[in-house]
């Protein structure tokens, strides 16, 4: 069988080509509709700091070996205390960075001297395991500037979050993907 590449356009060819284009357009529209209908609603998991009870399950229940939940520091809320109850354990031996004084089991909080008597605290997220020990200390005795958040550069956004299933404070909520964090801000006083 041979084909003529310069076959003239006749009514039959034109109608055939038009039908093919219409069919392809229809299939494209159907696929687009399917994609739109089945797409996720654009929500991700997040921890409501107001509900978090600092139970420590975020460190162990996440499907990731190192939890996607990290401690976050609201600098505007922090008191920059020398005796930071999120950094030091109860009744610390000395106010130094020695291991026996630190509350964080992985030394994920860095303490930097600012000026007497103020210190700045910074979370090293590579080391933080989301155990909430510092959060508990800060919220129990301090301003509550340390709190837990799901970090979305790590979270795999499981449909049924393993931590949400065991969260003691029922603090896991779905939030819009364009506002993925529930951050603490400085309380309004006016």
């Amino acid at each position: 069988m041979s084909t003529n590449p310069k076959e003239p356009v006749n009514r039959r060819n034109f109608l055939g080509a038009a039908a093919r284009v219409a069919a392809m357009t229809g299939v494209g529209a159907l696929l687009g509709k399917l994609a739109g209908a089945t797409a996720a609603k654009g929500t991700v998991w997040q921890i409501d700091p107001a509900k978090c009870v600092r139970c420590g399950k975020c460190a162990t229940a996440c499907v990731l070996e190192q939890s996607a939940v990290k401690c976050v520091h609201a600098y505007a809320v922090c008191g920059y205390c020398e005796l930071c109850t999120g950094y030091f354990g109860p009744e610390p031996n000395e106010l130094t960075t020695a291991a026996e004084n630190q509350l964080c089991p992985t030394a994920a909080i860095q303490r930097t001297y600012i000026e007497d008597p103020y210190y700045q605290y910074h979370i090293d997220e590579k080391l933080c395991i989301g155990c909430a020990k510092c959060v508990d200390g800060c919220n129990r005795y301090g301003n509550g500037s340390l709190f837990l958040q799901v970090r979305h550069d790590r979270c795999v956004n499981c449909n049924e979050c393993a931590i949400a299933r065991v969260c003691a404070g029922d603090a896991f909520v779905r939030v819009p993907v364009d506002q993925p964090y529930l951050l603490k801000t400085k309380p309004t006083t006016s």
Partner: protein
């Protein structure tokens, strides 16, 4: 075909297969080794994790007992470092081990596949006599398979389209407010008028034309007291009533709550703590005991109830007590504590948040969407703190929100929040709320004068729209009430005065001689006055003074009465009372 060549080819294929088999073995053992290492690390992790290690905890306990012991400190530091290094090594091994395992498995499977296929000797093709028939059968099966696949695709597409929406619940927080349901259609106006949806009734004037509560009651003699229910926490807000439910709020320095009582029997149907409000201050504001944290009266649109507290917590609950939304407006700076009640208009919640002492500071009027809590509009107000509650009236062809604060009575367009008119007629600490009386807006400038204005102006109407004013027996706390024809008001010392709403002429006055802090209300043709010590009087809403009845309850009263049907609801300091004929 050369037989030697075939034999040589077979031998080569077997050698190749053997090589691939050895490769598969090595890859398999490599995978097993990786798995074993990872599993071992995990098995030993429970006791060696830095934050769980009993040994480390024991050493820290020992250090607490002997704080100067350098040896224990050194042991803690060594052990802490060792465990942390081990922990992060394990994490690193998990990461690299995963990739190594994946690579090993790929090599293992590839080698196994090659080993299986390498020792196969190709057979000499023979003519297949059934080829044509088989081809036809394959063609028929292919068509069937394509048709079946198409059916499955169409079915799956239909299922996806139908069930495309995620069933994952969205959070109840301001970041993602709940979507209003179809049931959010507002109740008709007649239902509003038949209930008591806000402070001092449907229009805030304290007037219910159709209610018919009894003329007399006595708790001691058990006359016409249908029920009495204890209120868990204190509050000076007045009861609101909707659909057989009575709502109140209460609170102290620790807690803020909303209560719902069954109107039928006074049983507490539910109580809901308002907590975990985003942005709510950790410490309760300092307020006077005479104001408390729950002075603003609640409001309802018949779908939800709304409550505001002295710390700025604003909450919306379903009629069944289910939280709808909540937010904190910032603690109002108010020397006595915030007391302005909420207003409602066509599904919008109106909040007047005046604050500041001598200088205006961040006072504002806000309208929230009742279903979602979203701010519909917000307007700054150049006024200091006030305690009067706003009303929403239909006047001059517009829905107007009338507000009172030093020194102005200001009207806003309820739709857009635009300022319509204002009159600088107020002095002192503005606590009495405005009312609509016979088409005029009446407001008491505390202890100074009662002014009535025509609400059809624009801009500054101070000199152009004052219809009348009267300076006799003006109250400093309570608000006036009116049936459209007459205006009644009572002073804190108990002097009740009646004016003609048309021109402000005083018709009569009567001194009850006792402290009265609750604003009076009118039910039908009767004025109800409730004194602080529990005494109450019912007088005719007429042009002459005529006492019709009296009541007595064993409590103290500051809240305003609510009239619904044949009943009168009164909030005392300790309990909620329902007055009606048994």
């Amino acid at each position: 075909m050369n037989l030697a060549l075939i034999n040589s080819g077979e031998a080569g294929a077997r050698r190749t297969a053997k090589t691939w088999l050895i490769t598969a073995w090595i890859a398999g053992l490599f995978c097993l080794a990786i798995c074993a290492t990872i599993l071992y690390q995990h098995a030993t992790a429970t006791t060696n994790d830095p934050w769980k290690s009993p040994q480390l905890l024991k050493l820290k306990t020992a250090l607490a007992a002997a704080p100067k012991d350098a040896q224990i400190k050194a042991q803690i530091r060594d052990l802490d470092l060792k465990y942390r290094q081990r922990f992060f090594r394990r994490l690193a091994l998990d990461r690299t081990g995963g990739w190594l395992l994946l690579g090993g498995m790929a090599v293992f499977l590839a080698a196994l596949w090659r080993a299986k296929n390498s020792d196969q000797v190709l057979s000499i093709p023979q003519p297949n006599l059934q080829a044509a028939r088989e081809a036809l059968r394959v063609e028929a099966r292919s068509r069937l398979a394509v048709a079946g696949f198409a059916v499955v695709c169409v079915g799956a597409a239909a299922a996806f389209i139908k069930a495309g929406d995620s069933k994952m619940p969205l959070p109840q927080n301001p970041a993602a407010p709940p979507v209003p349901a179809a049931a959010d259609a507002l109740p008709p106006l007649a239902e509003f008028q038949a209930n008591w949806p806000r402070f001092r009734g449907p229009d805030g004037s304290g007037f219910s034309p159709k209610a018919n509560p009894p003329l007399a009651w006595d708790e001691g003699a058990k006359t016409n007291l249908l029920w009495k229910s204890a209120i868990p926490l204190p509050g000076f807000n007045s009861p609101i009533v909707w659909g057989g439910r009575v709502f109140l709020s209460g609170g102290d320095a620790q807690k803020r709550e909303v209560y719902c009582f069954n109107a039928a029997d006074g049983q507490l149907a539910w109580r809901r703590a308002i907590e975990n409000v985003p942005g709510s201050p950790a410490k309760a504001p300092e307020v006077l005991e005479q104001t408390g944290v729950a002075a603003p009266t609640m409001a309802t649109d018949g779908r939800r109830v709304y409550a505001l507290f002295a710390n700025g917590d604003l909450a919306a609950l379903g009629l069944d007590g289910a939280p709808a939304w909540s937010k904190n407006l910032g603690t109002p700076k108010n020397q006595y504590g915030h007391a302005t009640s909420l207003a409602i208009w066509q599904g919008k919640l109106i909040v007047q948040l005046d604050q500041g002492d001598s200088e205006p500071a961040n006072s504002r009027l806000m309208a929230f969407d009742g279903a979602t809590g979203k701010v519909v509009w917000e307007k700054p107000r150049k006024v200091p703190g006030s305690w009067a509650s706003p009303i929403v009236v239909e006047a001059a062809g517009k829905a107007q929100i009338i507000t009172a604060a030093l020194p102005s009575l200001i009207a806003y367009d309820a739709v857009s929040g635009a300022e319509l008119w204002k009159a600088d007629v107020l002095e002192g600490e503005v606590a009495p709320s405005p009312i609509l009386a016979g088409g005029l807006v009446c407001i008491a400038s505390p202890s100074s004068k009662l002014i009535a204005l025509r609400p059809d102006g624009s801009g500054d109407v101070t000199k152009t729209h004052v219809a009348w004013s009267n300076e006799e027996n003006i109250p400093d706390v309570t608000s006036p009430t009116s049936n459209g024809e007459l205006v009644f008001y009572v002073t804190s010392s108990g002097m009740l005065t009646c004016l003609d709403a048309k021109d402000g002429t005083k018709l009569w006055e009567h001194d009850f001689g006792t402290e009265i802090q609750a604003s009076p209300g009118i039910s039908g043709n009767r004025v109800y006055i409730v004194a602080t010590d529990g005494h109450a009087w019912v007088v005719e809403a007429g042009r002459e003074f005529k006492e019709l009845g009296a009541g007595k309850l064993e409590d103290h009263f500051f809240a305003s009465p609510a009239f619904v049907g044949d009943r009168l609801y009164l909030r005392g300091n300790a309990a909620l009372y329902c007055i009606g004929v048994k």
